[in-house]
């Protein structure tokens, strides 16, 4: 939606930036439609689609029945038939009922039809914990979808990246799962260009340059890692990489950094076992084994069910756990 005075004065939140990308792309491309539960009149439960139905009408911003499989499956059909659907799944936990459509259909059509049938759509999904939400409103399932060939998996951590990455995702010829970290939705504001710009899919960002250790993360954890950097001794120089795209992985940015630093700590909210950190650690030893001065470390969620909110802070990797792992890895 057009910018408010507050946005002009203070910048955009993650919610504002995603809303702006949707608004601008819907204006530019009449094939784009948003569909999902409560995305229309109510503007989505996080207000990400706020105002869009008023501008683009009931036929392009669609309140669907309460059915994730229905949303995902019919979005696949819309995409095949030449539309550019942007289905929203209200919370990551509710990808469950849509799993079959997303994984067994959206991801596979290009391959199984040898390119004859394709599914260009962007599945928007709020993700992650830390907002005192009920059960299944706080999970981090990105590795499941990164493990699904045919899907691209994105997770911006800043308003600036979110807008550019979403515009790329909508223009991408393949299905993209666009995870939006809830904890960041309204946590801060940032300058975001008003015009059209894209951030290529598959490109990580070096948030801070450093010599001694590479810290790799994505989503809301980028902010915990930034906090951790502030607590480290002056003479410790850490390179912080925000993956931004989880699949396809930007191998180059990671190995260039680890070749330089020789040490790496990976941070994610999802459980450790078979989390995406495992893939990164393996990639590092495959590409830069001889550069390593210490074993690659993972600071992740525990291998448990994400607890209800009384214990969620104990579960989530925080700045303290990150900085301890960094110091230990440096001391190895």
């Amino acid at each position: 939606m057009p910018r408010t005075e507050q946005m002009i004065a203070q910048g955009l939140t993650l919610v504002d930036a995603i809303n702006e990308a949707l608004y601008q792309e819907m204006e530019r491309d009449s094939r784009v439609v948003c569909l999902g539960e409560d995305v229309g009149l109510n503007g989505g439960v996080f207000r990400v689609t706020e105002g869009l139905q008023k501008v683009f009408g009931l036929e392009r911003v669609i309140d669907t029945p309460l059915s994730e499989s229905g949303i995902m499956g019919s979005a696949i059909g819309l995409a095949m038939a030449g539309m550019r659907p942007i289905p929203e799944i209200q919370f990551e936990g509710f990808l469950g009922p849509a799993y079959d459509q997303l994984v067994n259909h959206a991801a596979r059509y290009r391959t199984r039809s040898r390119g004859a049938v394709t599914v260009p759509m962007v599945v928007r999904v709020p993700v992650g914990g830390g907002i005192h939400a009920p059960e299944l409103h706080s999970d981090s399932p990105e590795a499941i979808y990164a493990h699904t060939p045919g899907l691209k998996v994105l997770m911006p951590s800043t308003p600036y990246d979110a807008k550019g990455m979403l515009l790329s995702a909508i223009r991408d010829p393949d299905p993209v799962v666009f995870f939006e970290p809830k904890r960041v939705y309204r946590s801060y504001r940032q300058e975001v260009p008003e015009g059209d710009y894209t951030i290529p899919i598959g490109q990580a960002k070096v948030v801070a340059e450093g010599r001694d250790l590479t810290l790799v993360t994505w989503g809301a954890s980028v902010h915990q890692c930034n906090d951790a950097l502030d607590t480290l001794p002056e003479d410790v120089s850490v390179e912080l990489i925000d993956l931004r795209t989880i699949a396809p992985l930007d191998v180059d940015t990671i190995i260039q950094s680890v070749e330089k630093t020789g040490r790496c700590v990976i941070v994610h909210e999802a459980p450790k076992t078979a989390g995406f950190g495992a893939e990164i650690a393996t990639t590092i030893q495959e590409y830069c084994f001889l550069h390593l001065k210490a074993p690659v470390q993972r600071v992740a969620g525990f291998d448990t069910i994400m607890p209800y909110y009384k214990l969620e802070q104990e579960y989530l990797p925080d700045a303290k756990r990150v900085s301890e792992a960094v110091m230990q890895c440096l001391a190895y």
Partner: protein, 377 residues
Amino acid sequence: MPLKTAYQAKVEYLQIMDENGVVDEKLAKDAMGDQDILELYQYMIKCRVLDETAFKLQRSKRMGTYPQNKGQEAAAIGAGFSLKRGTDFLVPCYRENAALWMHGLPMHYIFLHWMGDERGNQIPKGVCQLPLCIPIGTQMLHATGIAWAFKMRKEPRVAMTFFGDGATSEGDFHEAMNFASAFQIPCIFFCQNNQWAISVPREQQMNSATVAQKALAYDMPCIQVDGNDLLAVHKASRDFVERARSGGGPAFIEAVTYRLADHTTADDARRYRDSDEVEAWVGKDPIIRLRKYLTAKNLWNDAKQAALDEAAKQNATEVVRAAEGIERPAIADIFDYTYAELPRELALQKQTMRTSSLGQRPEQAGLSAPGVSANHE
């Protein structure tokens, strides 16, 4: 040549007590009696006060997101009252507190749940119900399975599952209905049609004239009842429950009611619905009509109401005390219930509260290698 009729069906609607507390004597013949009505009215007030209490706790940040039950108490109570405690199984969604309490759940458990504490789901032994279900439309299959087990073991027990109008759009709902029907499972499907699924009105959720008619596709007996009429809800529930208990198979009840409050405390319903509509339903509040009825019958008066209000407040205070008085959950609880037995790697995570390995085996790091421990006493 005129085509033959392949199938024909209808959906009946039952209301026994109208908005003014006036009862249709003919329909009321085998409905619940005045003593039950009196008791359940008082219980309903207690539930309403607890609901308001939970709302206030959320507003003062003493509770997380909470979905109010306000206005739907007759549906929950009428249905819950038709079940045998300790025998029949209740599989809830999250907007039927009164039924759960009536079926034996200590009241503060619901509060604990919304206070972000899994102990609110730790159903005491002997209480036949499952914890609240957050993912919409998924739990009906569990009710179907539970009731199926009763049938397999030839136990005279039934399961009842609650869900909303929105939930009937999920595939699992239809799969549960089909299983229950195909295998003639003693499961009662109880839909609280409160007209809204967050911001989506029922007419937009589906193009069907009633929710109940969905059962016809599965050849399941069904009825639409005035969900704010305690007598109608109870009569329909009781009849179907007893029918199922004696081998008659599943049934479907659509209780037409209304969500008087916001969807949850995180919602603002003014964004999507007219206050006129809400106002119209305020007059149909199940509490109002019961009070009118009881007053007309000389079973109730202002003094009794004042005493009840006081008792309900007192009860709410005790429930809050129980929920807030509990000690903080142990961090170990994050780990200990993942499996019956804690695997080694998880035991290590629990012991160290970290997932980084220090580049060493635990023994090398001076930690005792954690043994395998069970979480059951």
